[in-house]
Amino acid sequence: MRRSHARPAVGLLAFAAALVSPSAWVENHTEPTLLKQVVHQEYATVAGLDPGTHMVSVREDGGRVVSVGPVRHNFDQIRLGDRVNVTFYAATALQSLPNPSADASARVQSQDYTAPQGIRPATASGQTVHSPVTVVAVDPVKESVTVQHADGRRQTIQSDVQPGQELIRRLHPGESLELIQTRSVSVRVSDVRSR
């Protein structure tokens, strides 16, 4: 079995993972390095459908209600009571800041994905926040880095993956970086037999 560096996910999560992948950052001439990524998957039941906005409310088996969408294709194939697979994805990456003296405010990038027509209904929506930060401390033993945001807030990130751990070992306090944090949720109809 081959074990390699973490790389972008396959399937429905690919669009979210692409937000922290090198190809998304050609404009900056630098590549983000992945520090950690997490997947959390739940089963849920469709509890609400809004034909006006194409938003879907799903109730997880644990009781929590999550609103997702818009589902741009195949919305009319989704029924109240359908069983769906809800997957949450989160990733954190760092990249060097091409121009540290530029605008220090965070910027937000949103992206949606909808499965093409003709296949099982699926949707995903994600948001990526890019924040300029300064390295405050590096802990090579815990493989963590503490960064300070422009508003003074501090955040410590421990890396779970090899590329991120290697990056952390090379960082120095005072270094200017861009912190990239992606969150997404995808919903895929998992049980069509109940129709």
Binding site: P8, A9, G11, L12, V39, N85
Partner: protein, 130 residues
């Protein structure tokens, strides 16, 4: 090698069968203790670990390995709705937490994201650049 640990033998057999069919090498364990006792010989690259098990829970196994400096890709599986334990496991380094019955596509995605690729792919040479 992927170690699949679940006190429900039917579950770990089903998951190991699924993974072998997809080209992964794997081995099933009936408990966290069995995994820890066989750790040196098994030496897995990845754990698919039931969060709720008698004696050692998945979280306890994760903590014991971490305490001795073992870092391994960990995918938790659970039938429980106890969100606190799920979040704790993710906070302590698990890369994924998947609800039972385990969805094959999501499991494969979690493995790919962790850098685990089937033997069959490795045998045919490196992946083409994406």
């Amino acid at each position: 090698m992927i170690a699949v640990v679940d006190d429900d033998e039917a579950v770990h057999k089903a998951i190991t069968r699924l993974l072998r069919t997809a080209g992964y090498s794997c081995r099933g364990f009936n408990s966290g203790r069995e995994l820890l006792n066989d750790w040196q010989s098994a030496h897995p690259d990845c754990l698919v670990l039931d969060l709720q098990m008698p004696e050692f829970s998945g979280l306890e196994v994760q903590r014991r390995l971490k305490a001795v400096g073992v870092r391994v890709l960990t995918i938790m599986i659970t039938a429980s709705d106890e969100r606190r334990v799920i979040n704790q496991s993710l906070a302590e380094g698990a890369s994924a937490c998947l609800r039972k019955p385990v969805d094959a596509q999501t499991l494969f995605t979690a493995l790919e994201m962790g850098g685990m690729h089937p033997d069959a792919v490795a045998a045919s040479g490196p992946l083409a650049p994406s």
